[in-house]
């Protein structure tokens, strides 16, 4: 019951008027950036990092939590009304959601997405509060070799499993690892990849890389594709649901949550798989099979719940192990570091109040989102009329301000531009951004764990395989890498046929737009 006491303390901390204000700001900002395609919660948190230097850590994290969940809500609004999924996790929502909206049921689709997200987010946060402390207690007992194995697993999973192309993921990952190498070697004191520039010997600040890749890269990309035929937005009133909608929605919500949370909590992360599994399940179990493909409410309720539950799940490895598995978690981890808080298994012991305030504010943020999102949906849809030049001028301004504020060094602005161009190139050639950011964050920590393990083992590589947890993780990693091959060799089951079918559907959609 110790956890419950902490949670109550967290609520006390989070419910002060000032912190509630930050929660509201975070939630509004998060929904706004979620609605606008291309601007995600990760970019927003990255842009706000330098702004929040003067704010207490708990207030900053309350705001970030609001942005994190708000981005999810906003993303579903866009995919339903515009059929432009902002991120890969809301692709599935767009399939049925947009069909529903076209059939004049936009209000119901938005309502089931919002209420489903609230339920999944609340259950997911409760599970997070229940499991994360236990996992972190277990993780503290792990030695360097196990920790190294788990971090490597996260790297491999994020690179190879998520995203469309393993090669592109690997290129992005190694770019990130290379950037992470810059600076003075912590063991020998030799400068590495500093190109003789003394300012680089401290390494490149992750905030600058995150802001450059997410904000500057995206702004340049949009600038290169500015003038486009506007999308057809579907007009919407206030979201609401009828009795039959409730009856058809509540089971998919719960099933979606059950899919989403475990997948999010794995160090592999990712919401694509659970949302897709949820969609298939609902399609199979539904009493209204004929409606699927034409706008079935189950096809919105399930995947949207899975999406949010997995978002809550990704906070489990982040808080208990210090492992980020999605972009927003990665940037939030950077925020921990910039506040001088060492992320990792000891987080729950060293900063219990901060962590429990964060968890409590997730509950509060979720509730605020439901209260704000239902009546404000028409307003959010109006946000899409903002001319992009105004929007991205503001983003670039904040990006430069933020990059300069980190160390007040003009060199950082040059780095911002260089990495911004890298971000543009990555978008141009379809490289995923997530492996790069995870590589930058985890690279140096993996190196530290590796050398620590090797030092303890007297330089013997065999010492990496001494702990049972490490061996299990390595075996899982091999299975993860070999599984697609094995599946390919086996004859196609019904499910893989479905995957192909829906992939094709999505590609056609992409070709049309």
């Amino acid at each position: 019951m110790e956890n419950l006491d902490w949670l109550i303390q967290g609520f006390e901390q989070a419910a002060t008027p000032m912190n509630l204000l930050y929660a509201v700001i975070g939630v509004l900002l998060g929904t706004a950036v979620g609605v606008l395609p291309g601007i995600g919660p990760a970019m927003t948190v990255a842009l706000l990092l330098p702004v929040t230097y003067n704010v207490s850590p708990s207030a900053a994290f309350i705001m970030f939590a609001g942005i994190f969940y708000g981005g999810m809500y906003g993303g579903s609004t866009t995919s339903i009304l515009l059929n432009t999924p902002g991120e890969s996790s809301s692709v599935i929502t767009a399939i049925e959601g947009n069909k529903m909206a076209k059939a004049g049921r936009a209000a119901q689709a938005l309502a089931t997405a919002a209420i489903g997200s609230f339920i999944a987010g609340t259950i997911g946060t409760a599970l997070l509060a229940a499991f994360a402390p236990a996992i972190s207690r277990f993780a503290v007992s792990l030695g360097a070799p196990s920790y190294l194995a788990i971090m490597l697993f996260a790297l491999v999973a994020v690179t190879a499993v998520l995203g469309s192309s393993k090669l592109r993921g690997a290129i992005s990952l190694f770019l990130g690892l290379a950037i992470g190498v810059v600076g003075i070697d912590f063991l020998t004191g030799q400068p590495r990849a500093t190109f003789g520039i003394p300012l680089l010997s401290d390494g490149i600040d992750i905030v600058i890389i995150a802001v450059a890749i997410f904000a500057v890269g995206e702004a340049l990309w949009v600038a290169a594709h500015l003038r486009r035929r506007p999308a057809d937005v579907i007009p919407v009133g206030r979201p609401w649901m009828g009795k039959s909608d409730w009856q058809r929605s509540w089971k998919p919500w719960l099933r979606g949550t059950a899919y989403g949370f475990p997948f999010g909590a794995l160090p592999a992360g990712g919401a694509e798989l659970p949302t897709f599994l949820s969609y298939i399940t609902e399609k199979r179990l539904s009493k209204h099979k004929e409606e699927f493909g034409k706008g079935a409410i189950e096809g919105v309720a399930g995947p949207e719940a899975a999406n949010n539950a997995s978002a809550a799940g990704t906070l489990v490895p982040m808080l208990s192990l210090g492992l980020p598995t999605n972009a927003t978690a990665a940037v939030m981890l950077t925020a921990f570091v910039s506040y001088g808080i060492q992320p990792g298994p000891t987080l729950f012991e060293k900063e219990p109040l901060l962590i429990w305030t964060l968890i409590a504010s997730l509950f509060i943020g979720n509730l605020l989102l439901l209260l704000l999102n239902l009546p404000l949906a028409p307003l959010w849809a109006k946000l899409l009329r903002t001319p992009r030049p105004y929007l991205y001028a503001g983003i670039l301004f904040f990006a430069c301000l933020g990059a300069l504020a980190v160390n007040v060094q003009p060199l950082d602005l040059a780095l911002l531009l260089v990495f911004g161009l890298l971000g543009l190139m990555m978008r141009r050639f379809g490289l995923p951004v997530l492996p790069l950011i995870i590589g930058v964050i985890l690279g140096p920590r993996i190196e530290r764990q590796l050398r620590q393990s090797l030092q303890l083992g007297g330089g013997d590589w065999g010492s990496l395989f001494t702990e049972p947890v490490a061996i299990v993780v390595y075996v899982l990693m091999v299975i993860l890498l070999l599984m697609p091959l094995v599946l390919k060799l086996m004859h196609r089951s019904e499910e893989t046929l479905l995957i192909v079918e829906d992939d094709k559907d999505q590609r056609e959609k992409a070709a049309q737009s």
Binding site: L36, P37, L82, T84, L226, R227, R228, R229, P230, A231, D232, V233, A381, L384, R385, T386, P387, R388, P389
Partner: protein, 130 residues
């Protein structure tokens, strides 16, 4: 030829109706321009395909010879002025709306720009107050 600056709202429809009436009166052709800068994700004044079909059907029913174009990624005022530069263009029809001083400062006013810059006559109309 009469040029109509069309937007998919009451102001655009008012301009369309007055343009049609004027074209019938003068026995000339119509050029309907519905343009967008393409800078926002959504532009409600840019006619969707079903709205375009409605307008086209309406024009056909009225029996005037017409052309409807939807340029993307252009400045609306510049596009209309360019059309008015053609020798056969005789009249421009636009719908005008209220603009607050702040709105004018931030976003400018297409109507004002056209009224001041266009060398040929302009018919500025408003939708019926009902």
């Amino acid at each position: 030829m009469i040029v109509i600056g069309y937007s998919a709202d009451a102001f655009g429809r008012a301009a369309l109706e007055h343009g049609i009436a004027e074209a019938k009166l003068r026995g000339t052709t119509l050029l309907v321009i519905n343009s967008t800068s393409g800078e926002a994700y959504v532009d409600p004044r840019f006619a969707r395909s079903d709205e375009v079909h409605d307008v086209e059907r309406h024009l056909q029913e009225c029996g005037v010879e017409f052309e409807l174009i939807q340029p993307v990624g252009v400045d609306t005022a510049v596009e209309l002025l360019k059309a008015m530069d053609r020798d056969d263009a005789e009249l421009l029809v636009i719908g005008i709306r209220h603009r607050s001083p702040v709105g004018k400062l931030l976003l400018g006013s297409v109507s004002q720009h056209l009224l001041l810059e266009c060398p040929k006559p302009i018919l500025a109309v408003k939708p019926d107050e009902r």
